[in-house]
């Protein structure tokens, strides 16, 4: 079965979704990410959806589930690169993904994650 690759970049995991995901592929990504967070001890997950042309309720739920699961595993998730047409459609669909942190691109996402992780460490 095909899988979405997960790259480790220092303390972060980077996922770039470049295919039109069917539902099983999205579920496999959730499972794989949980596994990789535990294996690597990563504290940040960056999901790049700049190539994604469609986020429906299923993919929206997957993003929310990943963020919630990562949170429980002591990692922060940032979704980056959402296309404007996708954002407009999501709001019409009734999904505003309040539980998900977002940034406009990978650079901004890395900066946001690093800032959040520093703030978290200082607070401990």
């Amino acid at each position: 079965m095909d899988r979405i690759p997960i790259l480790k970049l220092g303390d972060l995991l980077l996922v770039t979704i470049q295919v039109d995901m069917h539902d099983q592929l999205a579920l496999a990504l959730e499972d794989d990410l949980g596994q990789r967070i535990v294996e690597t001890g990563a504290h940040g997950v960056l999901i790049d959806i700049s190539s994604v042309e469609l986020v429906d309720s299923f993919i929206g739920r997957m993003l929310g589930n990943i963020a919630a699961m990562a949170r429980v595993l002591d990692a922060i998730t940032v979704v980056v690169g959402m296309r404007p047409a996708v954002a407009i459609t999501l709001v019409d669909l009734g999904l505003s993904l309040p539980q998900i942190r977002t940034a406009l691109d990978v650079d901004a996402g890395v900066a946001l994650l690093n800032g959040l992780l520093v703030a978290q460490t200082d607070g401990r």
Partner: protein, 138 residues
Amino acid sequence: MWATTSAEDSVPLHSSRDVVRARQLVRDHAVAMGFSLVEQTKLVTAASELARNTVDYGGGGTVDIARVEGRGGTGIRLTFVDEGPGIPDVELALRDHYTTGTGLGMGLGGARRLVNEFEIESTVGVGTRITVTKWKRP
């Protein structure tokens, strides 16, 4: 009926891969007809929600894709048909956050907001037919 149809396509819907195939074909038609990127995205997202419902709740079925012309100009009409258990209370099913499965309950009501016309006929024990139309903005 004032609408005329052409360029029919029919896609069987039995798995999540069929859902992907259906939404890609809907996208192809929308691009070919010159729908704006936002209109394409809304229509394809509605198609994805309804196709998934056909697979997950309707026990599989088909979607017919038609280019239509009418008072609204040119558009795309999608007809999802299944012979599944049917929807006992359509009003309830259209309500946001209502789900009988494991979903978010945004599919049906959400899809209705993404298109211009939305019709649903469902008979318990017989099946469900959902017809949606999105008109191209002039």
